[in-house]
């Protein structure tokens, strides 16, 4: 019997509401609970507006959550002040989607990588430089790249700098927000291999945010599918891909194109488009789009129900 894996990041009831005039509120995130264990990869998948990026930002308090709590390495970050948060960012770091936007164009790679070493680890220059060279080699760049500016690097190299910056402070949790979305497929593969290698070497836990189902399948141990601000299904990656339960998950998986000849897909189609997140009704999120809709679906929002083996789905209809 193995011991319970150590949970490094746990959110409970994480919620983010934006006021949009009058008493109306946009529900960007409603009551999201996740557990991320030491050294594992949990993927959050979903389409635009599903709340996956809002979740990442709330989990780090880059955006202030409206409700709920986040425990990082067992400690609540809810009441941390600026200094406490600064310390926290030594334990959890983020790699952003677009390295063109997340690297300061006026800073050399050296300045980018030195900054967290200076701020979080208070290293003197000589030590920082030694560590910076190590980090460059760790992410597959060379010490010569330290003198470059972001515009002198390719997209893939820039993303490597983003990874080096995130790893500089030696976090045990890294949030990866669409780390390969802006890269060509040939570079994407190298980036994913790099992330896997670093995870194994440094025992990192990844919260991997992506809309690319192929990448998620390749990277994640567990998957949580988000739709309209909430999780509709979660489970081990192979279970969710082999036996998707929620109608939204089925629609999403069956829509993903496969780069292979002669693959016939059984499409499950949803009606219409994603509804407005402003003042949503107390009903299943998929009401009005779902081919399996029952009268009961419109009267209350189904919670996540255990379907066995760590697989959970927010749909009583498919389990009935």
């Amino acid at each position: 019997m193995r011991a319970e894996p150590y949970v490094v990041l746990r959110t409970s009831g994480l919620t983010k509401l934006y006021p949009v005039g009058g008493s109306r509120r946009l529900v960007a995130l409603s009551g999201v609970d996740i557990d991320l264990a030491e050294g594992e990869t949990l993927a959050l998948v979903g389409e635009s507006g599903s709340g996956k990026s809002t979740f990442a930002r709330c989990a780090l308090r880059l955006v202030e959550p409206s409700d709920g709590d986040v425990l990082i390495n067992g400690r609540s970050i809810r009441s941390l002040g600026a200094l406490g948060l600064a310390e926290l960012y030594g334990e959890v770091q983020m790699v952003f989607q677009d390295p063109n936007a997340s690297l300061n164009p006026r800073m050399t790679v050296r300045q980018v990588v030195h900054e967290p070493l200076r701020l979080h680890l208070r290293m003197p220059f000589a030590k920082r430089e030694k560590r910076a060279i190590e980090l460059m080699e760790m992410v597959g760049l060379t010490p010569a790249h330290l003198d470059r500016y972001p515009h002198e690097l390719s997209g893939g190299q820039r993303q490597r700098v983003g990874i080096a910056r995130a790893l500089a402070a030696e976090p045990n949790i890294v949030i990866l927000d669409e780390p390969t979305a802006s890269l060509d497929v040939s570079v994407r593969g190298q980036m994913l291999e790099l992330l896997k290698r670093l995870q194994a070497e440094l025992k990192l836990a990844y919260l991997f945010i992506s809309h690319d189902l192929q990448v998620v399948r390749h990277m994640a141990d567990r998957v949580a599918v988000m739709y309209l601000g909430g999780i509709v299904e979660s489970g081990r990656t192979e279970d969710v891909f082999a036996r998707p339960l929620h109608p939204y998950t089925r629609a999403l998986l069956s829509a993903a194109p496969v780069a292979r000849w002669g693959v016939k897909r059984q499409r499950l189609r949803l009606a219409g488009e994603i509804p407005s997140p402003i003042d949503p009704p107390d009903a299943c999120r998929l009401v009005g789009r779902c081919p399996m809709q029952q009268p009961a679906c419109t009267t209350r929002r189904p919670p996540l129900i255990d379907a066995g083996g760590g697989h959970a789905v927010a749909c009583p209809v498919v389990l009935a």
């Binding site: 389409e47 497929v185 040939s186 994913l192 399948r217 390749h218 082999a242 194109p257 000849w261 693959v263």
Partner: protein, 272 residues
């Protein structure tokens, strides 16, 4: 077998920088687009796929300088046409759908007005008839409530709806012989992408269109296209039927692109 609708022969050219230096970007690009087929041009960033597509319509950036080649459309070399002759072809016989539909539509006119204007430009007739045809076109691309939607502005459309409207414009209002689609689903969610690609496939089949799909996504190609042109660094690497490209790639670059697109998935995993 009739001659291909479009034939590009030996197209080469360079970008000219402000100091006069030339950077070669297209090297002897040649391929054909047979009538009634969907032909994909696939490549990564910098492969020259979009530049080639823009050159067909004569809307390449002004810094691009052609050094050699012909673009034969229905047997005529488009590169030798006068600007006014080209205007008679652009839109009317060859039209294009761009990647970001909301950016391609004019934000200060309603969607219906823009489509109707194009209809009158190409087909003449009264404004009311043009609007009637526009609403039919919007309905044909499955835009719900087309009468109401026609009175809305582009910012009131979602990305997927705007792309449907663009396809209505390019394929149904213009009624071209050749439809060029430049990354039509990049930036759209997969469920929306699947619906847009189905729409494109249906239009091509039902209306006997010839289409040229520019994309970096081999997944989209496998399901929708008849033929594939693989480009890399300004060169055509390989051309063939979709089946041949996916099952018997001859060139190492094609094999590597396929492997990278499949991320080590096995067929069993996909069928599961």
């Amino acid at each position: 077998m009739s001659s291909p609708l479009l034939e590009i022969e030996g197209l080469s050219g360079s970008f000219r920088s402000p100091n006069g230096a030339l950077t070669p970007v297209l090297h002897d690009v040649s391929f054909a687009v047979p009538r009634g087929t969907v032909t994909a041009i696939v490549g990564e960033t910098g492969s020259g796929k979009s530049l080639t597509a823009l050159s067909i319509l004569g809307i390449q950036p002004p810094t691009f300088q052609r050094s050699a080649g012909r673009i034969l459309f229905d047997g005529r070399d488009l590169l030798t046409l006068k600007p006014e002759e080209m205007r008679g072809i652009r839109g009317r016989r060859i039209s294009i759908v761009f990647q970001d539909a909301r950016a391609a539509l004019n934000p200060v006119f309603t969607v219906g007005r823009q489509l109707a204007d194009v209809h009158r430009l190409h087909h003449g007739g009264s404004a009311s008839r043009a609007m009637k045809r526009t609403i039919e076109a919007l309905r044909a691309v499955s835009i719900p409530e087309p009468e109401r939607r026609a009175r809305q502005y582009p910012h009131e459309f979602s990305g997927g709806m705007a792309q449907r409207a663009m396809i209505a414009l390019a394929a149904l209002v213009c009624e071209p012989e050749l439809l060029i689609l430049d990354e039509p689903t990049t930036g759209l969610d997969v469920t929306i992408q699947a619906a847009i690609m189905e729409l494109i496939g249906d239009l091509v089949r039902e209306r006997g269109l010839t289409a040229c799909l520019i994309t970096h996504d081999l997944g989209v190609v496998a399901e929708t296209c008849d033929r594939v042109v693989v480009m890399n660094a300004g060169r055509v690497v390989e051309t063939g039927t979709t089946e041949a490209i996916f099952t018997r790639p001859r060139q190492d670059y094609t094999r590597r692109l396929l492997a990278a697109s499949q991320l080590g998935e096995t067929p069993e995993m996909i069928e599961a």
